[in-house]
């Protein structure tokens, strides 16, 4: 079964203030994320993973009456932003939660785990009905 793990960052710069982190803290965070992706790939569970650009560059787009895009630079008032996501293909919901918990421990300033919330959503990919 496939799950999307969404890493939501608090509003502000949408990035836990990484711009102000010490170099070694940044290095630890980048290394952690790289190793996590690597492990998921080696375990044959990774479908895809992406980090998203900071919300400052985000645009709201809707179609005008003639179908042309209208872009709006002002982002809606939300408490959180999607900072990145993983799509994984795993054997059970528990495995998805375990991976999410692992991602949650990404090190922050001073190497202290961020314990950030990871939203776990099942992808509409209906597990086959179990055998009798």
């Amino acid at each position: 079964m496939k799950y999307m793990l969404m890493m939501n960052a608090p509003r502000g710069d949408g990035n836990w203030g990484v711009a102000n982190w010490a170099p070694e803290d940044l290095k630890a965070m980048v290394g952690f994320m790289r190793r996590l992706d690597q492990t998921l790939r080696e375990d044959g569970e990774l479908v895809s993973a992406e980090g998203l650009a900071a919300p400052g560059q985000a645009k709201q787009v809707r179609a005008a009456a003639d179908g042309t895009p209208i872009t709006d630079g002002v982002f809606p008032e939300t408490k959180e932003f999607l900072a990145g996501y993983w799509i994984i293909d795993v054997e059970s919901p528990d495995r998805a939660y375990a991976i999410a918990a692992k991602a949650s421990t990404c090190p922050g300033p001073g190497g202290k785990p961020l314990n950030m919330p990871i939203e776990v959503r099942e992808v509409m990919s209906g597990p086959p009905v179990d055998a009798p």
Binding site: R41, G44, L46, V47, P128, A131
Partner: protein, 421 residues
């Protein structure tokens, strides 16, 4: 031959030969993981060379030879300790058994390989991937496409599965008599999951991916040829054919799900139905009855009815009753409740659903809500039916099923508004 790709017959032949070739190489070298890689290389070489140079006179021998050469190269590239094994490997390279001389060994090899690929130490996803590659002869890319994951992920999954097999020390031999039934059940379960994956689709918006369905049927036919007297193998093959027979009637032009009762039955594949019925009938003569046979028998009763209202529900109810006495599967109880509703009326069916609400395996499952909605609709409780169709739609993880359930709720709501107007 002028075409640059393999024609369908050659591709079919390659897939049929895959487990035989793999069996021969594993017997020579004993290293399943490495042998499996070597056989994949040989299949790729065949796909490139055969269209260009023509089919060899002895395709099986050709494949074994290429795979053995790969193994020898691999061994040579390995450590000094492994290098000593070269001499015997190279000698073996020159002797290729004739196509029919080792039929018994071949037959055993395919079964042994299946037992390995479906071993209980593997997760379902790993067993499925490994079976499709090592027995089915599919490439990693094809398997990855079928399951909508990147090829590198699928490659890792297969490689991990082989490591697990290696680490667990499963011998390359037939299971012992007391393990055999359980190991065969695991094999049938994997084949069933492959079929189901293709049939119910599990991934993405398309309701069925017939390639996996076809592959599961092909593999199950092969097992049936090897074990023609096994009632459950026969039952599983019958179940697949009887289910697959309805494939074209099962979806509408926009891929929407059409339930059994409203399917256009003239679209059902008569040939598959006849074959399935013959098989399931024969399987019941083989003695002990198992769940695949029961499912096949129920599918046959649906397939035999010219119209939905001609369905022999009393017989279906009896078969579910028999099944319930054999296993404590809540899905079976759920289907039994539907059959009871069709025979004795919706109130009886609804009463049978009640105990399932407290069964932790089923409580909160979308199928329970969907069945309850259907039975409430039959009982004339429109509002209750709408509410449960909506609940079911919220809980399912299948897109076509969600759309179907939402449509059911919308249809009832609309008919309610019309009758009030």
């Amino acid at each position: 031959m002028t075409s640059r790709t393999l024609d369908e017959d050659a591709e079919h032949l390659l897939r049929e030969l895959t487990p035989q070739v793999l069996g021969a190489v594993v017997r020579r070298f004993g290293d399943f993981a490495a042998a499996e890689d070597a056989v994949q290389d040989a299949l790729v070489a065949a796909a490139i060379q055969w269209p260009r140079e023509g089919m060899p006179n002895n395709p099986r021998g050709w494949l074994i030879q290429v795979a053995l050469r790969r193994m020898t190269d691999q061994v040579r590239a390995d450590s000094a300790r492994r290098r000593r094994e070269n001499a015997s490997a190279e000698q073996a390279d020159l002797v290729v058994p004739s196509a029919d001389a080792e039929y018994v060994t071949e037959r055993d090899d395919t079964l042994i390989l299946l037992f390995m690929c479906c071993h209980a130490s593997l997760t379902n996803a790993s067993a499925i991937a490994l079976t499709l590659r090592a027995i089915g002869g599919l490439t990693t890319a094809e398997i990855a496409r079928a399951f909508l994951v990147p090829e590198s992920t699928m490659a890792q999954r297969i490689s991990r599965a082989k490591q697990t097999i290696k680490a667990s020390g499963i011998p390359f031999s037939m299971p012992t008599a007391d393990e055999r039934d359980e190991r065969l059940r695991a094999v049938l379960h994997v084949l069933y999951l492959i079929f189901n994956e293709g049939y119910t689709t599990s991934s993405g918006p398309d309701l069925q991916r017939s390639d996996l369905t076809r592959e599961a049927i092909r593999l199950t036919r092969a097992v049936h040829r090897l074990l023609p007297n096994d009632a459950e193998v026969t039952g599983l093959l019958a179940l697949m054919l009887l289910t697959d027979a309805r494939r074209t009637a099962r979806t509408g032009p926009d891929g929407e799900l059409i339930p059994l009762t409203t399917q256009n039955r003239t679209l059902w594949d008569r040939r598959l139905i006849d074959e399935g019925i013959t098989l399931v009938t024969a399987s019941f003569a083989k003695g002990a009855v198992g769940p695949y046979q029961l499912q096949a028998a129920i599918a046959a009763l649906h397939d035999e009815a010219p119209r939905a209202e001609d369905t022999d529900w009393p017989q279906i109810l009896a078969l579910y009753g028999l099944w319930m006495r054999m296993s404590d599967n809540p899905m079976v109880r759920l289907n039994h409740a539907v059959a009871a509703a069709m025979v004795h009326g919706p109130a009886e069916g609804l009463a049978l659903l009640q105990p399932l609400d407290t069964d932790s395996r089923l409580a909160g499952h979308h199928r329970l809500a969907a069945v309850r909605a259907h039975l409430l609709e039959l009982a004339g409780d429109r509002d209750g039916a709408i509410a449960h169709y909506r609940t079911a739609a919220e809980r399912t993880t299948s897109i076509p099923e969600r759309n179907y359930l939402l449509t059911q709720a919308a249809r009832l709501r609309e008919s309610g508004e019309r009758s009030q107007a």
